[in-house]
Subunit: 91 residues, 2 copies
């Protein structure tokens, strides 16, 4: 069962890396970026009999290791997600 | 227009960070992890008149700065995605 964890800094926490990337993009002419935040993506293939069980297991992994819950929020998603990009745009 | 970029190492590239995390999880008793890969999440709020235009703009940002296309693949998604976790599980 493949699940995806997205780990983001909590809204009040300054995202230094995101600010640096946004500034670098502006330097390349991308001045249409209103906001940019950088986080972590963890893709886990977990041996579980159901999606619910996989979610619970990965939630426990997040609390114990994958996320720092003082500074970070996390969300757990099924692997398949709506894509804006057509498959040809995936590099 | 909010879009999400997921940047992953290409399948053939050794994911040292992912291997380290998987090993640390095993040390905590999570021996049900079949595979684990770590990537980057970039959430961009871009000033664009349509989803299509936002996608094209962010695709250009990926090629020029956000991804190293020699080593990494990227996908661009709309911000809303199906979630395995109920909203209460989001920390």
């Amino acid at each position: 069962m493949r699940v995806r964890v997205l780990v983001r800094l909590k809204p009040g926490i300054l995202d230094v890396q995101g600010a640096a990337v946004q500034r670098a993009l502006a330097g390349l002419g991308f001045d249409d970026v209103r906001e940019l935040r950088v986080g972590k993506l963890v893709e886990v293939d977990v041996d579980a009999p159901s999606a619910e069980r996989a979610r619970a297991r990965v939630d426990e992994m997040c609390r114990r290791l994958l996320a720092n819950t003082i500074l970070e929020d996390y969300t757990i998603e099924a692997e398949a997600a709506e894509r804006l990009a057509p498959p040809g745009a995936v590099r």
